[in-house]
């Protein structure tokens, strides 16, 4: 019977397959196109004469003798010092993820085991923070940061990103800890563990799936952020995303749009890898909030 429910007419099957293929093209084509184009010269990437130039790289071949060239990458990474931005992004992401996970695990565990009804307020704060554009908060941070002379450096940005991220992390980990049965740490405590030992030896080994998922989302937040990092970082300390945005300001005259294209591709590559390896965690994290309603 279940098989019969799945049966479809040919027309419907063709329609649904076409639709999926259409969506796949819509989702993937821009990335493929930009990746392909990033190895070309600007005249090919933006081809006025003939759009097939972008595929065959006719102009690129004239200039460099081969249809592919790494000049865009070389210009971005070496000349424009994109590697510095990459390094900064790595530092920011690493510390944001570590800090928010440390606070999040300890806080989330404490909240899920305490008898008080924090849950509602936690949810509300997480919700509010999800809704507020980060830039509204940035405008509040700016003046004090100028006054204290801590504007433009990485630690400040890390702290702000952690603060923006924290309610969400706390909320997510809290619900993960709630899923771990209370009996588990209670039996450990009956066996003579202190509360902290119970956390250390019983909870930590079973909490990894939740922590990884939450960590992924804090990583994405730190990696993708534009508003906070542009506003709070001095030019020397910029991370990848504001760096790319700053390429755009100077590109039109220099003809080095290709620098921006190359660095966009470089910045997207880690995300590709991330999705490839953690697809299941991302999906489960996205739906975790939904299933609970």
């Amino acid at each position: 019977m279940a098989a019969a429910a799945e049966q479809k007419s040919i027309g419907l099957r063709v329609f649904s397959s076409t639709f999926v293929i259409f969506w796949l093209i819509l989702a993937a084509f821009p990335f493929v196109w930009t990746l392909w184009g990033s190895f070309k010269v600007e005249l090919d990437f933006f081809s006025i004469a003939d759009w097939t130039n972008a595929l065959t790289g006719a102009r690129t071949e004239v200039v460099y003798g081969s249809p592919f060239t790494g000049t865009g990458y070389e210009g971005a990474w070496v000349k424009e010092e994109f590697w510095k931005a990459v390094l900064n992004t790595a530092i920011v992401c690493f510390f944001v993820v570590c800090t928010s996970l440390t606070i999040g695990t300890l806080g989330g565990y404490a909240l899920s085991r305490s008898g008080f009804r924090y849950t509602f307020w936690l949810l509300i704060i997480a919700l509010m923070f999800r809704a507020l554009p980060p830039i509204t908060l940035v405008s509040g941070y700016l003046l004090p940061f100028f006054e204290w002379n801590v504007w433009g450096i990485l630690p400040t940005t890390i702290i702000v990103l952690v603060a923006i991220n924290q309610p969400f992390t706390l909320w997510m980990l809290h619900s993960f800890f709630q899923k771990i049965p209370k009996d588990l740490d209670e039996s450990a405590m009956v066996d003579g563990c202190t509360r902290f030992q119970a956390f250390r030896h019983v909870i930590i080994p079973v909490m990894w799936p939740g922590v990884i998922t939450t960590g992924l989302f804090s990583f994405l937040l730190a990696y993708n952020d534009f508003a906070v990092t542009t506003m709070l970082l001095a030019k020397e300390n910029q991370t990848m995303v504001p760096k790319i945005a700053s390429f755009l300001g100077t590109t039109q005259t220099e003809g080095n749009v290709m620098f921006a294209v190359a660095s966009v591709v470089s910045a997207t590559a880690p995300l590709f890898v991330l999705v490839m390896f953690f697809q299941r965690q991302i999906v489960s994290g996205l739906t975790a909030g939904a299933v609970k309603g």
Binding site: M1, A2, A5, K8, L12, S16, F19, V20, W23, L24, A27, P30, F31, W33, G37, F46, I48, W51, A54, I103, G107, F120, L123, I124, M128, A131, L132, P133, I135, T136, L137, S139, G140, Y141, L142, L143, F146, E147, A163, Q166, Y223, N224, F226, A227, T230, V241, I244, A245, L248, A260, A267, T268, L271, L274, V275, V283, L286, T287, A290, V291
Partner: protein
């Protein structure tokens, strides 16, 4: 943690009530060979001193909120009095920066949210019918538009729809108009931004609905079939009611995300045609003169907007919570 949340909000509110100091002006008498003349100059020293003493600026009350850059009551009242038609009034209002941004933001929210939900649902139903091996592959590519940094995603599309890029070129060819440029007209820019918004957000709706479809009770579906429901009727009366809570959830998240639309505007360099509240703040904060108080006022207005947007949800959550206790 609470400190980090409360502190910027308090700071924003205080800043929004202040405005930059006026320059201290002194009258100096310059005596030259042709007699003395009085000159008005700015006392740089004193100006700097007063600015350092009180970095917040002078107290301005609500005046920043009411000036031309924000609520602009005066200008609104003016154009209401001098209106010849209702549409004339609206076009006068949408020339004011705040209302201009508001009109784009609201249109964006109203158009993108339902479109995202519909597209996401269609993809989810179509993907659900695929066989197991293909599913993982399709989901991988479907996640990409959402995971990619918004600014980067919009840049990628921006380069493609450039009149020299492949899509822009293609559109010119389709409409047979070599001067067609998506960037030049306001209407087309809005459409472009909204298409980007849908492209960016559809995967999220898709993933949530897809997960919902996995939990669909097969028995109900089968009994509906036995009762003679057609495929469409099954979707309409079994599947849609089942995932209705998820629709609410996606709609809520999308409302919040679309309300703070910001990166696409920077990525598409569309600020000439479309601005959003977040963009106004960004614009005030950046540049040579950091208009802190103006940005702060817009921030407060945004927070109020978010509050209005979320209030039905908050009330409902509060009620649910009270029932539970």
């Amino acid at each position: 943690m609470l400190l980090f949340i409360a502190f910027p909000i308090v700071s924003v509110v205080t800043q929004s009530l202040h405005t930059a100091h006026d320059q201290v002006i002194v009258e100096v008498e310059n005596c030259g060979p042709f007699g003395c003349e009085k000159e008005v100059t700015v006392d740089q020293e004193a100006t700097r001193k007063i600015r350092e003493d009180q970095p917040l600026g002078k107290w301005a009350g609500l005046s920043v909120y009411l000036d031309r850059g924000h609520l602009a009551f005066q200008e609104v009242a003016e154009s209401w009095k001098t209106r010849d038609s209702l549409s004339g009034f609206f076009s006068a209002i949408t020339n004011l920066p705040f209302y201009r941004a508001m009109s784009f933001t609201l249109t964006f929210v109203v158009v993108v949210t339902p479109m995202t939900i519909i597209l996401g649902f269609m993809i989810a139903v179509a993907v659900n019918a695929l066989n197991q091996k293909l599913k993982g592959f399709v989901i991988f590519f479907s996640l990409l538009p959402m995971i990619v940094t918004p600014l980067i995603g919009s840049l990628i599309l921006f380069w493609m729809i450039d009149s020299r890029g492949i899509l822009g070129n293609g559109l010119q060819w389709i409409f047979d108009d070599p001067n067609l440029s998506l960037k030049a007209s306001t209407g087309l820019t809005w459409i472009m931004l909204m298409v980007y918004g849908i492209w960016h957000a559809a995967p999220f709706a898709f993933v949530v609905f897809y997960a919902g479809l996995q939990t669909l009770p097969q028995d109900t579906l089968e009994s509906a079939m036995i009762d003679g429901a057609t495929r469409w009727q099954r979707i309409r009366y079994v599947i849609i009611p089942h995932i209705m809570p998820l629709v609410t959830f996606v709609a809520l998240i999308q409302l919040m995300d679309n309300f703070r639309v910001f990166e696409p505007i920077v990525g598409f360099s569309a600020e000439a045609h479309a601005t959003s509240l977040s963009w106004i703040i960004f614009n005030d904060l950046g540049g040579e003169t950091r208009l802190l108080s103006s940005a702060a006022a817009t921030s407060v207005l945004t927070v109020i907007g978010v509050g209005i947007l979320l209030s039905p949800v908050l009330v409902r959550t509060w009620r649910d919570f009270k029932v539970k206790v």
